[in-house]
Structure formats: structure tokens, C-alpha cells
């Protein structure tokens, strides 16, 4: 538990990080640093996107797998690191 916290703190201390969400494989947020409404919204939407991205990658090459997904938007950047059971969502404000 403490390790998880420590890791999150490390990530949070990076410049520009707005929020971190850990979501389980079903898309239910497990841990978050944002408020509930945003968390739930991000989790639901991004979960679908990750599933789609992952299936796309695997369809093209079954040996392949998705390791990282970055969505760059005008206002911020959403980074998603998927894994077997969970995935981690980090929202960062890039310094312009």
C-alpha cells in the first residue's frame, strides 16, 4: 500500500501533472487523485479507448501488445500505461 502511494507521489511530483487515476480491468477506478466526477468520466471513456487500441494492435500482429498510449490535446496530454489487470492514467499539462 505504501509502495503504491510512494509511486504515485513520484509521478505526481513531475512538472505539470494534473491527476492520476488507476483503473482496474473492468474500467472501475481504484485509486485517484482527482475528484469523483472527473475520475469516473475519465475511467469510463478511456477504458473503452484502451480496449479498442489494444485490440487494434493485436489484430495487426497477434504477437504485439499495447505498451503505452498518449493522447495529445490542445489543453493537456493524457498518458495511459496499460497492463494485465490495471491501467494507469496520467493527465499532464505540457509546458508550452
Amino acid at each position: 500500500m505504501a509502495e503504491v502511494e510512494e509511486t504515485l507521489k513520484r509521478i505526481q511530483s513531475q512538472k505539470g501533472v494534473q491527476g492520476i487515476i488507476i483503473v482496474n480491468s473492468e474500467g472501475i477506478p481504484v485509486k485517484t487523485t482527482l475528484d469523483n466526477a472527473s475520475t469516473v468520466q475519465y475511467a469510463g471513456l478511456i477504458h473503452q479507448l484502451v480496449m479498442k487500441a489494444r485490440s487494434t494492435v493485436r489484430d495487426i500482429d497477434p504477437q504485439n501488445d499495447l505498451t503505452f498510449l498518449r493522447i495529445r490535446s490542445k489543453k493537456n496530454e493524457i498518458m495511459i500505461a496499460p497492463d494485465k489487470d490495471y491501467f494507469l492514467i496520467v493527465i499532464q499539462n505540457p509546458s508550452d
Partner: protein, 877 residues
Amino acid sequence: MPPKRSKSVTSSAGSKKKGKNTESPAQGEKLGHPEDILPMVLTSATQELFGCRADEDVTGESPYKLLKKDDLIQDLKTRAAVSDFSPAKQIVLNYPEDELLLVFDRDFTYDQLFYLVLTPEAKARILNPPQPEAPEVCENEVHKTGRSEPKPWISLGSEQEIEEESFKESREKLWYKFSRVRRKFGAPVCFSESNIDAYMECVPFQDSRFRIKQMQRDFGMQAVPRMQSSSSQTQWKFKRNIFTRYTPRELSDGDKENIHQCENLKHFCNSVTPRVLQALQQEEIMNVFFDDWKALGTAGDDADWSGKVSEGLMLYQAFTDQKYTKDKKISSINWHPTIYGVLAVALTEKKKEEEAMDESSAVEFRASHIVFYSFSDPSNPQLLLECPDDIYAFEFCPSDPNIIVGGCVNGQVVLWDISAHVIHLQGTQPGKKYSLNADTFDLDDNKENKTPVVRYCAVSALESSHKAPITDVQWLPPTFEVTKLGLPVENKNNVSVQVVTCSPDCALMFWDVRVTKLLSQSGSDRKQNADQKTSYGVPETFKHLDRTWKPLFKVSLPKIDTGGEYAPLKFSLELYTCNANTGRTKEEANENDDGSKVVPDYSQLRVPSAKTLATLEDFNTKLYIGTEDGEIIYTDWKLVKDDSGRQQSAKPLHCFRTHHWLVNTVQRSPFYKDIILTMGSWNFAIWKEGVMEGPIVTSPCSEQVCTAGCWSPSRPAVFFIGKDDGSIEVWNLLEKTGEPLQVHAHITDAKITCIKAWTASSKQHFLAVTDDLGMVRVLEIPKTLYAPFKSETLSVKKYFKLEEDRLKDFMKRDELWAKQKKEAEKLKKKMDPVKPVKSLTENDEENMKEYNVHLEQEESVLKGLGLWTAPADTEDT
């Protein structure tokens, strides 16, 4: 022989009753129960014996019990007279079959608890209801489910009425046949006379029976509803959900805890973290999506690579008119806000000094005009506005470009309405020469020769105007207006209705162009007369103001530390654009504008009562004023109550003598609402509102007097200055802050009086320059000067902030130095409390000694160089 017990007919089998023969009801009336059943009482012992205990073996649902005949006979033998079955003894003995039916009659239909069915036929009938009945029953039941159950008709006496009303034959119809004897058919007829008294006459007579009219007649009617059943069904072709409602799935706290403890999560975090950190750091290092190449230069983007990029201001057109502009100088110029290529200049007399002194000499009075030029016709003015006197400043109304307000040299404010001639102006756009109808073609020649002259609609009352020439006039923006006390309130009309003027008679006046309440009563009388135009063809828009126009209120400018007042020349106020206080957002205000571009009828607008309008609380009522002496004042126009309780203008907040002479420009930057450019005498200054220490940028003094200046409307860092010698300087704050970027000398030979920049279209930016000789030159601004850089606004803002910080820092340091100096002096005094004051002569001697030493040194050096020449005259002391 116990009699057979008959089975009871339960109430649910009511339909069975119908199928039954008519014997039972008839017999039921006689005996109280049908013939083939026998009600009996069974004691509890008998009940137990035969296994037909009430409510246990036999119930309401299964009331039938088959009893063996042998058992019954046995019971009869054993118990003889005591047996319950004794009344039916004979029947039991005679019963042909083996089993008898005993029925438990819960409802006491036949007065006893049990019945014995006597005949096998009845038993069969009861136990096995006849088959043909079943489908009927089914049918009946089916019908019953569809409609309500048809019940037999019960006579309530209505058939008697029908009997009375109906017409029935009471006897058989009679018929008679009359005919002649057969043998007389065809026989010749023999007519003869006969006695008339032997005949029977049947005279028609009125039978009284038939005279009575039946007024009322009963007759039966029956309304039959016309029913029609029909059905409809829509086709739901594409089944899909229109709305869904959902809630997100969330884990309960317990679940979350479980997961947190789980090793899995830890592993996951450990494995994923390096990737994430790397990605995050990448972002920090550099922005991969930023196109450096593109951002490098926007100037050379779509410039002509043929090399014809013009760097400087090119002359586009020059306007002059021999008739009207001879010997006049231009005091003010304005571009028409909506019509392309039209500008207006105000011409004033060039008073030579001698003439001005000599007032008795008959100065040739020529009417003063504001002349409208159009790009299509450089040598002929398109429209002339007649002025009562020379105009030094004029402005187009921002919400209605047909209304022009001007300030006269005698202090009056003048209004024009050119709506009648706008079409003429618009028709003179380059390329649209033949806008007039073919009908009036004959009159064309005459018309074109004569430029239309518009007379002014209204002038202000002479006694309440300024006492000195009006040097600056501005419309208040359509977003707010001002009450009599100077409080800013919301403007419900959304059009500009108020004007501010300033003049060196030390006053700023606020004017309202609408009808005031006092005039409205007399205005209604005047309205009837006002239908016909005046003899000069002047439009009626401002008739209510003519000659009686008084200012709303007056702001005086008392000096800060001394007595007296400042003499303002130019001013600039903050243009308030957001109506946040009133709840109306800018979008709404814009919607209102876009919906109906109805130009309001100024003659119909009334000054609303001050109480009905909401005061704008956070409004900035301060303005910057440039004075005759070169001071820039920052003051508040709201009237405050002073000690004596009267409304007075407040003292200015600060005043700086930045310029040495007349201030000729005070202009707000079109990009930042708190940056103001002021120009006067030999330098210019940039101010930021809110910074009280002074201007954030001051330019070094130039050789020529700056006479006119304006910001570029498209680039926040560029502005133009016109000089006394007819040259124009282009300054770019981002490139060089100490000197102009470009100097275009000799644009004109005379002093530049006015300079105004305008964005006519996205590719055409013009700079209008006017001079002392009455010429107007329109220069085209090259792309390098009007195309802003990508982040220019931001850069310039940063630059201003930097300057502001520098200024503040400088002030602080100044204080610091002053303090330090004081302390140093104190220290010095302490150190040498008594220092002999050198006398003057001693000082002189010292000086001479030093001088002699210097001379010797010089001699020796020059001798060394071999250049020593004996001095022509030496002053030997």
C-alpha cells in the same frame, strides 16, 4: 335403505343450471330441493366412519365422496334406526350401482350439510357433466371474456308502455268490392231523367274529430350508437434506444481496500512507473509538436518572392480639392467606419499671426466644412458638412455612422445626420460609378457637378458650451451611459448616446443626444409641426437639441497641489465592453445587435429616469487627459461631494509633466485596454493604467516636434508618429525601443497635423496623413508593418510588464538611493563636525594652481611631440 344424497349444485356451475332441464327449478319450488337428491345430516361418528369428515376429507373444493353401497347397507344393518342413512334406506337398497355419491354442501344450498344423490343418472350427470355442454360452456365462457355477460331480460314494466304505444290491428281488415252486373258491360247505355229528390247526397263535411291537432305525441325512439372498431399500429422500423440512463460502476470502500492490499497492484505500479516517468519527462524537455520552422517567420509566409516586398509606406492616393481646401489646414481626419474608402477631414482656417491680432480687419469669412473624400474620386469631395465655425475635432457615432458630432472653435458642439446622403457616399465606391438610376440620367450632370452639402442638425446652447475651442470629442461606447451625477449606468438602448468633449477652458463636459424629460412635453407639441422638414432640408433627428442643448454635467480639473485648473487638450477613457453586472452577457448583447440591425431613431430616444438604470459598480470612471502644458493627468470623472456638500470634481489622482508643450495625442492601444500612448512636444510616452509612478516607457527627445500619432490597428507593437517637418516615423516596440524603425522623410512639405490608421480589408491597411496645406495623403501600410507575429500580443504584453517592473524597481531604487544619500550625509556630518569653510578666494587660488599645473603639462607633452607653438595670448596671473 338410506336415500341417496343428491349432489349439490355449486354456485360456480351456474351455467350448468341453464343446460339443465326445466324440471329442477320447478321441482325445486315444490320440494325445496331437486327430486333426485336428498339432504341429510351426518353425525360426526358417521362422518369418521365413512371418511367424509366435514372440511377435512371433503371440502368446498372437492365436495364429492363416493360411498360403497355395501358399506351403507352394512351400516344400516349395524345401526338400524340410529343410522343416519335410515331415511334413504330404501333408495340405497334399490340403488342399481355399487357406489353412491355423497356431496358435502358447504353453502347449505338445500338446508343440510350433506346430500345423497339418489339416482345413478343424477350421479353421472353431476360427476361427469355432459360433453355437449362443455363446448357450449366454453363458448359461453369465451363470449363472457369478450363482452359482458348477457343476462336474461327482466321485465320492468316497459313492455306495457310499448304495448300502449304500438299500433296493433284490433280486427281483421274489411274489404268491399263494388262492380256492375256483368251483362251490362258493353251494353248500350240509356240515359233518362229521374227525380232529383230521391238521391242521397254525401256532402263532405268537416269532421270535428279531425280539427283537433295533436300537439304532442309520444313516440318511442332508440338511439343506436354507430360503432366502428378499427385499429392502428405503427411500424417500429428501427428499434433503438433513445435515452439511456446509467450510473458509473464504482467499487465499494471495502473492495478498494482489498485491491490496495493486493500484491498485484504493487507489481503493476512498479512495472508501469518507469514508462510513465519517461513520458512525462519527455514532455518537459521539449514539445515535439511545436513546429519551429513554421514559427520562425510569418513575415515571409506569403509575401511575393519576386522581390517586390515593399518595406515602406507607399503613397496610395492623395486628396485635395481646390475649391474648399485652399489656404486651409486640416485639423482632424476620420475614416468612415463602415463605407470602404471614405474619409472625412475637418478644415480650419489658417490664421496668420498678423490677421489674428488685427480683429477689426474684415476677415474673409468662408464657411467651414467637413469634407468627405472617397477613393474613387481623389479630386472632388463627395459630401460637405456645413459647420457653424471651424471644427477642431469630430467623430462618427460608433453605433450609427450617419451621426457625426463635432466640436467647434467657439466651444459649441455640433451634430450632423447624413443618412440622406449615405447612399450617395456608398455609390461612390470605386467600381460603382453608375449607381444612380437611368431615369435621372439627365439630371446626372447637374448633380455630379454640385457636391451635396449637409447642414448641421443641432448645435449646443452657446451659453452652456465651452468657452474655448473644443479640442477633443469622443462618443461613449454603446455599452454604458452616464447619469447627471457622473455615475455610470447600464445603457438599455445599446447605442451610443453620449458624447464627451474637452476644451482648454479647463472643463470636460458630458453631453446626451437624447431628448431630456423637460423637453419631452414641449417636444410632443413640436412633433406635430416637425413633420415637415425645415427650409434647409435638415433632417429632424436632433431638432430637440437645436440651440438648447445643455451638457449633462461638467468635470473640472483642479490642480493637485496648487490652485487653478488644468487645461485639457486630449483625453482617453476606458471603453467598457462587458455588461456583466446587468446579467446581460456580451453574447446576448451581440445577439441583439445581430438580430435586428435597426438603427435607432435618435429623435425617439428618451433619457430614462436615473433610478431605473442599474449602476455599473466595477466600472472604471477614470480617464487620462493631456493638457496644454504637457502634463498627463489621471483623474476620475465622477463627481464627489466635497466639504461644503456640493458635487465637485475630485482632484486628479496623479499628474506628470512628461511633455514640455502641448499634448496632441492621448490614445489607448486597440489591443490592451490599459496601455495609453501620449505624444507632445519632443517626445512620447506610454502609460499603463494603474501604474501611478509615471509612464512605463518614455522616448528620448527627438529633434522634431511630434505633432500627431496613432497606434497601428493590427499590430500591438507598432505605432506611427507624424512630425513637424512632414516626416513619419514608424516605431516598433519589439525591435527597437530607442529609435524609430523607419523614418519616412518628406511625406509632405508642411507640418503633419493628423495621422490615422485604418484597416480597410485584410490585405489593405491604410494610413491617412493630413498636413497644414490641406492635403490628405493615404499611404498603404506594407505587410511587414501590419501582419502581426504569432505571439506578438503576448510579447508586447510581456514587454510592457517588463517596463512596468523596471519603473517600479527604479522608483524603489530612487528611494533607496535618497535614503542612502541622507544617511551618508548624516554620517559625514558626524565624522567632521566642524570643517572650515573655504573662502571663495582660496578656492580660486586652488583652481589657478591646478590650471597652471595643467598648462605646464601640456607644454611638456607638446614639446615632446614637436608640436609646441607659442600660445597667441596667454593670460598670466
